[in-house]
């Protein structure tokens, strides 16, 4: 317990004594984490948007006009039993025509020349949550096309596929940028700790001479790195939150993005905590790297 107190005191002293370098390290770490945070926010919101669009995916199964009543009943029973189908609604030929007329009153002339109703009857189905991914929908619709009585299967595939592809790119970019910026944060913190180690190298040598183990000497510096990383992450979160609020309130950005204003959001609390933990981890790694450098310079 006394040792723990000593380690914490030493870490606090290091931070207090090296205020300028500490400030620079925290601010620089914060800015690198802000860049990463922007990508992460973009990725999370786009993923949220795709997920919400996927919730709205409707699969429309168009039926052959010559399907007898018994066949229609069998097909309805079969489709209702599919695990992918959450909800199923039958749209008769007449209802399809009425819907068309209601939606496109100016285009009614198109249908008049055809005589009989050209629109097919259909089933409109929504998906159960676990089958809302693009791949699952595609597999299911491919299967449905082979069912007797089904003329065509349709869903808003292109749009969702494109968005999913874009999400994939953003995800890749986030990972790449994240790794690059994580390395930058580690380097910044490593250099800050290296300055401290250099300033206190004689003290460290004395500690070794009186029988202190490497771990005992190292821990205050690891704590210092962890604190710098965590403070950098907290500052980054504050900056990101400020930027996000500014954009939503003053620029009205979300309302312009996909019309998804209510769906866009900042990091949930749990993720914010994880970001601080990530900063703490990066800081510790940075500190550890400067120690390895010090050990190498001794040998």
């Amino acid at each position: 317990m006394r040792r723990l107190g000593y380690w914490v005191r030493e870490a606090v002293t290091n931070i207090r004594v090296n205020q300028t370098t500490t400030f620079i390290a925290v601010v620089t770490t914060a800015f690198t984490l802000v860049c990463f945070g922007v990508f992460l926010l973009l990725y999370l919101n786009l993923r949220g948007a795709v997920s919400s669009l996927q919730d709205d995916i409707k699969v429309i199964v168009y039926l052959h006009d010559d399907l007898p009543a018994q066949g229609l009943a069998d097909l309805q029973r079969r489709l209702s039993g599919e695990p992918e189908a959450a909800d199923l609604a039958y749209v008769s030929k007449d209802k399809a025509l009425a819907d068309f007329r209601a939606q496109f009153p100016s285009e009614q002339g198109l249908l008049q020349g055809l005589g009989e109703n050209p629109l097919p009857a259909s089933f409109e189905m929504t998906l159960t949550p676990r089958y809302r991914s693009v791949d699952a929908v595609k597999r299911w619709t491919d299967r449905l096309k082979a069912v007797p009585g089904v003329a065509q299967v349709q869903y808003s595939r292109d749009w969702i596929d494109n968005l999913a592809t874009m999400i994939g790119y953003v995800e890749l970019a986030s990972v790449a940028v994240g790794m690059l910026l994580a390395a930058a944060s580690v380097t910044i913190i490593a250099n800050t700790i290296r300055l401290t180690l250099y300033a206190r190298r004689e003290e460290i040598e004395i500690m070794r001479l009186i029988g202190a183990t490497g771990a005992f000497i190292k821990i205050p510096y690891l704590l210092e790195g962890a604190v710098l990383g965590a403070l950098g992450a907290m500052l980054a979160l504050a900056l990101l939150k400020g930027g996000f609020e500014f954009m939503t309130l003053h620029l009205g950005l979300p309302s312009r993005v996909l019309g998804l204003a209510p769906k866009l959001g900042f990091f949930p609390f749990q993720m914010s905590v994880w970001l601080v933990v990530a900063g703490l981890f990066l800081g510790t790694v940075g500190s550890l790297i400067s120690w390895v450098g010090l050990e190498r310079s001794r040998t």
Partner: protein, 222 residues
């Protein structure tokens, strides 16, 4: 307690110690004499595991130091005390904290740390300066603080490198008296010095090094 067998140490291919064979018994007080560059500090560094011998064997308390892994060195050092010519006290800490540090790294309880550090400070006559920073102390007081830190964990061996190097004769005599008291309690002492006055005053076994070789090994005058 300390045994060296045909020990060699080179720096940049030049021998700093050549074929040293030496034994120091438990409770002995040995003065290591010789001019600057004779190899006194190198010998102490080998005993303290700050350096490794290039050849030969060194046994400390029966342990071959060549076989001690780097991770084991701190534990060997905890059985020894070391006094430096330049004191090597932590300037940001009080005298008490400096003296308490070896106990802290060993994980002793607060009660034991307070008790032992106070005893060590009392033994060197520095109890009244325990809250002072090293910079506020005289050279003699700083060396006493350094000695208190070296003896605080009751080491079996105490090594000192020119502990009176920068002191006037009276102060040097005081410090040597302190070492004699410590030796009288059973601690084995090896003290490197080039000060003949100190040697005369102490009147103990004198091992002389010259150009890295053992030049003489003379016991105390009767």
């Amino acid at each position: 307690m300390i045994q060296l067998f045909h020990v060699w140490k080179h720096y940049a291919k030049r021998p700093a110690l050549s074929d040293i064979t030496l034994q120091v018994e438990k409770g002995e007080f040995v003065l290591l004499m010789g001019p600057s560059g004779a190899g006194k500090t190198t010998l102490l560094k080998l005993l303290f595991c700050a350096e490794r011998a290039d050849d030969g064997q060194i046994l400390i308390q029966g342990k071959n130091v060549a076989r001690i892994k780097p991770s084991g060195v701190p534990y060997l050092r905890r059985t020894m005390g070391f006094v430096f010519q330049d004191f090597r006290l932590l300037q940001k800490k009080t005298v008490f904290d400096n003296v308490a540090l070896p106990l802290l790294v060993q994980g002793l309880s607060s009660f034991d740390i307070r008790r032992k550090a106070s005893e060590a400070l009392k033994a060197v006559g520095l109890e009244h300066r325990k809250e002072s920073r090293p910079a506020m102390l005289s050279a003699g007081e700083q060396q006493r603080a350094c000695i208190a830190r070296a003896i605080v964990n009751s080491p079996l061996i105490l090594l000192a490198d020119e502990p009176t190097g920068n002191m006037d004769p009276d102060l040097a005599a005081d410090i040597m008296d302190l070492f004699k008291t410590i030796n009288a309690r059973g601690t084995t002492l090896v003290i490197a010095t080039h000060n003949r006055q100190v040697v005369e005053q102490v009147n103990r076994r004198v091992v002389t090094l010259a150009e890295g070789r053992l030049a003489s090994d003379v016991g105390a005058r009767q």
